[in-house]
């Protein structure tokens, strides 16, 4: 049930994408997201789709895994599509009772749906192929210039990595507590909204307590190993660009340039 949320979960496989430097993958994800907003024509989305498809194919992660992450945003997606579909003024296409679908509305709704789903799938590719550890390593390195403005880069990166690391643990914990309460006759499925919300109490209270307990334990364990922030801290495996990373940057630049050209000329 809840285990179906894959956002922030790593999928073990031996692929080129897995081996890429996390900085490349972070930059690529960011560039991909921006490119989705740069292109505004169907051809552009076809290019983005092809790019995404190739990356997914290379990553060796089953496509089903990526789509699973989409389940979480189906609701948001639906609302966006419906609102855009019916509330965009323009040339009427179909009229259903008092609601009118306009040509512009259909266009914007379609693009929004594509944008949102590509956005989620694109970021899932990154989290599915990068361990939380290397992800934060990459983030720390990329954000290093911000240190000049007194941004606690290392601390932010550490918090992110811990948060990511806790997602699967807390999901598992939720599953366990849920089962334990079901065994005591709890009912999480039937009833109206208020009843359902109330039924969540026996799940949420133990979950919060366990999250706090885990956080406490972790803080203690880190302190016991003399962790004191990023100052003078060295890495066991410092990040280094390799040939494949340079090639990846090249491919990325070509893709991005392509998107910009499509925006300008098509």
């Amino acid at each position: 049930m809840i285990r179906d949320i894959t956002l922030g979960q790593y999928y073990q496989a031996d692929s080129v994408i897995h081996k890429l430097d996390p900085r490349v993958k972070l930059t690529a994800t960011l560039a991909f997201i921006i490119s989705l907003f740069v292109v505004q024509s169907w051809i552009g989305y076809v290019v983005a789709a092809v790019f995404l498809a190739v990356v997914i194919k290379l990553s060796k992660v089953p496509f089903g895994y990526m789509v699973k992450g989409m389940k979480a945003i189906v609701f948001i997606l639906l609302i966006t599509v419906v609102f855009n579909l019916f509330l965009t003024p323009g040339e009427p296409l179909v009229t259903l009772w008092k609601l009118t679908i306009t040509k512009e509305g259909a266009r914007i709704a379609g693009m929004m749906a594509i944008r949102l789903s590509f956005l989620i799938i694109g970021s899932s590719v990154m989290t599915l192929t990068t361990t939380p550890n290397s992800l934060t390593d990459g983030m720390e390195k990329l954000m290093r210039p911000l240190k000049l403005f007194k941004v606690p880069v290392h601390e932010v990166a550490m918090m992110m990595s811990i948060a990511l690391r806790f997602i699967p643990i807390l999901l598992e914990e939720t599953d366990k507590i849920m089962k334990a309460q079901i065994a005591r006759g709890a009912d999480f499925e039937s009833g109206n909204l208020i009843k359902k919300a109330k039924a969540m109490v026996p799940l949420l209270v133990p979950l919060f307590i366990s999250a706090f307990r885990r956080a406490n334990d972790l803080a203690m364990a880190m302190e016991a190993r003399c962790y004191r922030g990023g100052e003078n801290r060295t890495k066991m495996k410092p990040l280094q660009y390799k040939a494949r990373d340079r090639i990846a940057y090249g491919v990325l630049a070509a893709y991005f340039a392509g998107c910009v050209l499509i925006r300008i000329y098509l």
Binding site: I177, Q181, R184, G185, D187, P202, V205, P206, I209
Partner: protein
């Protein structure tokens, strides 16, 4: 009145590369009133097995019958099954959530739709059964000690008056005193009410003293299913699957190996003592 498992198979992570065959063709009959020890190494499938018994997990193939009815039939009332087959999870104290001990124990019976009076009577009786004093009833469950929390959590399941009580590693993480207290209370409860008890553990030592039947799990299959003295005769095979027989078994085997004619199938220290005394006095 019994629980029957018929060719039960369970596979985790169905069609992914990470699929794990957690249960392989498990066939068991659990008659009324038995005290059973379910033993297995970590990852042997014992926790998966017990979650099948109250319908929390649906077997990939095979069927489970309670009192002759298939528990996964369309019209079967799972809620009722869960009140009859009480499952106490590992570290059950992690599921406490109410503002006081008494309310927490009331949660189970309340979910069964019982009257307020009946609910409170059951909660009171359950707390007494696990040896929690009245003074603690209106304290926050989070202020209790580890052993007390666990007993409150067990009371939470007992209050539903199950006919089969399953305890998954009820002594994990407790000190020897807390462990003996819990096990003694479970044994006492079993004697007084005559319910079926299934004790899941990885320690033979823990269960040998109490149970009348031991089911040994290994890699998802049932390896042995017999009375304790028979199971312990396989102490060498048990070691191979990461388990061990009680220490008295080793002592008696060592004595016998030195040519001292003692019985080797004793299961408790008391029995061993009498056997050795019989030989020398």
């Amino acid at each position: 009145m019994s629980l029957i498992l018929d060719h039960v198979n369970y596979i985790y992570g169905g069609d992914t590369a990470l699929a794990v065959h957690a249960l392989k063709d498990v066939n068991l009959v659990i008659p009324d009133g038995q005290f059973i020890g379910l033993i297995g190494h970590t990852g042997s499938g014992k926790s998966t097995l017990v979650q099948h018994l109250n319908g929390l997990i649906k077997p990939t193939s095979g069927s489970i019958y309670y009192n002759g009815e298939d528990i996964h039939a369309e019209d079967y009332d799972k809620k009722k099954l869960r009140s009859k087959v009480g499952l106490v999870f590992q570290y059950p104290e992690h599921q406490l959530f109410e503002i006081d001990v008494f309310k927490d124990v009331c949660f189970g019976p309340k979910n069964l739709g019982l009257s307020k009076q009946e609910t409170e009577l059951r909660a009171y009786a359950a707390l007494k059964q696990v040896g929690i004093e009245d003074d603690y009833f209106y304290q926050s469950p989070f202020d209790l000690s580890g052993g007390q929390k666990r007993r409150v959590a067990i009371a939470g399941v007992l209050a539903m008056k199950p006919e089969i009580l399953i305890l998954d590693e009820p002594t994990a993480g407790l000190d020897p005193k807390g462990r003996d207290e819990i096990l003694d209370q479970i044994a006492k409860l079993k004697e007084e009410t005559g319910i079926t008890v299934i004790l899941v553990s990885h320690s033979m030592e823990d269960v040998a003293k109490y149970v009348e039947r031991i089911i040994v799990m290994n890699r998802g299959s049932v390896l042995y299913d017999d009375v304790p003295r028979e199971v312990f005769q396989h102490y060498k095979e048990l070691e191979q699957v990461g388990l061990a027989a009680p220490q008295v078994t080793y002592i008696m085997q060592a004595l016998a190996a030195r040519g001292i004619p003692v019985r080797t199938d004793v299961t408790t220290i008391e029995e061993a003592r009498q056997e050795i005394l019989r030989r020398y006095v």
